[in-house]
């Protein structure tokens, strides 16, 4: 990790590239967040079987490792490569607190992954605390409208984790076409989660953007507003393409998309997998614009 930071520091020195590297690290951090929160949410609330698949264990540990790496990278890069300043003050304390919560999750991965349905409430609390570790050091944790922004951002991150994590977990089942029988239970539940998440994302996103910008005029006339508009457009395209893909898969399977399972044709399952994969790829673009928004967010 030190070598990686040294390379980035050497490249960034004199070229003012630290914001770019920080943005990339932040984007990877969001992906890690989706992997960790999404996988545990999926297993706790959507996965119908008692046994857990290896793919979910890999997704969780991969996400945890990526979160460790990106938390350290963002902390160090935000202080222009200074390790001495990286873990000092509120930002440093928040980063360490996040790693502490993550360590607790990895330590109890047995319950988190293998027995998730029985431990739903502790897992939910753990997820909320992890989400707050992202919020405390964000532009949401500032007056004015602190409570509104914190609630909106908490809802926004929870919905992001649940939805995108669900998409990823679905892709993990659909792409290898393994255990398609679980789709019969998973898809109707995920459909409700997806709709609730989209509504939550739209409402909380609008509230947060207004609170951060200060006014509609400020939102419309700032760079922050432009980047937000790009995010909304990509988000809209993501919803549209996802819908087209799902409808096409349903037409091929001659049934509703939520009823696709192991009895559906291979072609319809493949199309459905591609639609889910494309939706997740566009979600990555949304996360990238979110990382950019952090850079353009006006300070309170």
């Amino acid at each position: 990790m030190t070598v990686l930071v040294s390379v980035v520091t050497a490249t960034g020195d004199g070229q003012d590239l630290f914001p770019l590297f920080t943005g990339v690290a932040r984007l990877l951090g969001y992906l890690a967040f989706v992997l960790v929160i999404g996988t545990t949410f999926f297993l706790a609330w959507l996965w119908p079987k008692d046994s857990v698949e290896w793919v979910f264990i890999r997704l969780f540990y991969g996400g945890a490792a990526l979160m460790l790496l990106t938390t350290v990278l963002v902390a160090v890069l935000s202080t222009s490569g200074s390790w001495a300043d990286a873990f000092v003050g509120r930002s440093g304390a928040t980063a360490l607190a996040r790693l502490s919560i993550l360590a607790l999750g990895v330590g109890f991965a047995w319950e988190l992954l293998g027995d998730a349905r029985r431990w739903r409430i502790p897992i939910l609390i753990w997820q909320l605390v992890l989400i707050e570790s992202f919020i405390v050091d964000s532009d949401a944790w500032r007056e004015p409208w602190l409570v509104v922004k914190v609630l909106a951002t908490t809802g926004h991150l929870a919905a992001t984790g649940a939805w995108l994590g669900g998409l990823l977990a679905l892709a993990a089942i659909l792409v290898p076409s393994a255990h398609l029988e679980v789709l019969h239970d998973v898809l109707p539940r995920f459909s409700i989660i997806a709709i609730a998440s989209v509504v939550t994302l739209v409402v909380t996103g609008a509230l947060h953007a207004l609170a951060v910008a200060g006014s509609v005029t400020a939102l419309m006339t700032s760079t922050y507003g432009v980047v937000l508009a790009v995010k909304v457009i990509v988000f809209g395209v993501m919803l549209l393409l996802g819908n087209v893909g799902r409808r096409y898969a349903a037409r091929l399977a001659h049934r509703k998309v939520t009823e696709i399972d192991e009895s559906a044709s291979d072609q319809s399952v493949r199309v459905f997998a591609v639609a889910v994969g494309a939706e997740f790829a566009l979600a990555t673009a949304v996360l990238a614009t979110t990382a950019a928004l952090v850079h353009f967010a006006p300070a309170a």
Binding site: G89, E111, T223
Partner: protein, 260 residues
């Protein structure tokens, strides 16, 4: 995966997780009260333009500023207003850090050079060079016109911001007094920020470092308040001024060429 038949490796993993989590939590608590090694505002330091949001909202009551150091609390720093630190060079130019802090985000800033006021400074023709600015953590790419017109120029900020930090060199603002002791000048001091409807008329404090300041005069104030300078060690600062009446003239002896 039942709880009753937990393998030993899982128990070890749990213990390790708890220990690591506890150690990290303790470290988090320890470092939360500490500040980064970033120096307080100082015109000779490039760190002064770092737009770090002062962590004053969570800190205790403001600490008194030590003699010889620029203020760390007050308008433009911990409360809405403008804080200016100007350090004089041997040629009478000033290296300036100007911090603007407002309650409601602004997306533009009107800048104008300080205008000559009163006897003795009429010959001054202040200009700004080497202008740099950051707003809410973002670099400001718009730069003011050069030379800056007397009625001002408006710069666009990259996003609405409540914290704007500018650093620039103010040249031509010094007028050598005649006859006078060697090195004595009258210097027009910033701010260069001008009142406008979005900004309002915030409070301003100007601090001067370097050279030997004799006094500070605020010609726009009522006569009884015009001697507006207060000395604190080697730092002179004005009383709190409204931006609309923030003209400040310093009478000072410039640093000797070659002096450290």
């Amino acid at each position: 995966m039942g709880v009753n038949c937990v393998p030993r490796s899982v128990v070890v993993q749990r213990i390790l997780g708890i220990v690591v989590a506890a150690v990290l939590a303790v470290f988090a608590m320890l470092v939360s009260g500490r500040s980064p090694s970033t120096a307080p505002p100082d015109p000779s330091s490039t760190l002064a333009v770092t737009p770090s949001t002062p962590e004053t909202s969570t800190s205790a009551a403001p600490t008194p500023t030590p003699p010889g150091a620029a203020a760390t609390t007050g308008p433009g720093l911990t409360e809405p207003g403008i804080h200016v630190v100007a350090q004089s060079a041997v040629d009478g130019s000033l290296e300036v850090v100007e911090r603007v802090r407002v309650g409601t985000p602004v997306s533009t800033l009107l800048l104008a050079p300080p205008s000559p006021r009163g006897a003795g400074s009429a010959g001054a023709t202040p200009t700004i060079t080497g202008f740099q600015a950051q707003a809410g953590g973002l670099l400001v790419t718009d730069t003011p016109m050069s030379p800056l017109p007397a009625d001002g120029d408006r710069i666009e900020l990259p996003a609405p911001a409540t914290d704007i930090t500018m650093r620039y060199r103010l040249e031509g603002g010094a007028d050598r007094s005649q006859p006078a002791p060697v090195g004595r000048v009258l210097i027009l001091l910033p701010p260069v920020t001008r009142p406008d409807p979005a900004l309002g008329d915030p409070a301003v404090v100007v601090e001067v470092i370097g050279g030997t300041v004799r006094n500070l005069v605020c010609p726009d104030l009522p006569v009884s308040d015009q001697l507006c300078g207060r000395q604190r060690g080697t730092v002179w600062s004005t009383t709190t001024l409204p931006l609309s009446r923030s003209s400040v003239v310093a009478q000072m002896d410039l640093p000797q060429p070659g002096a450290g």
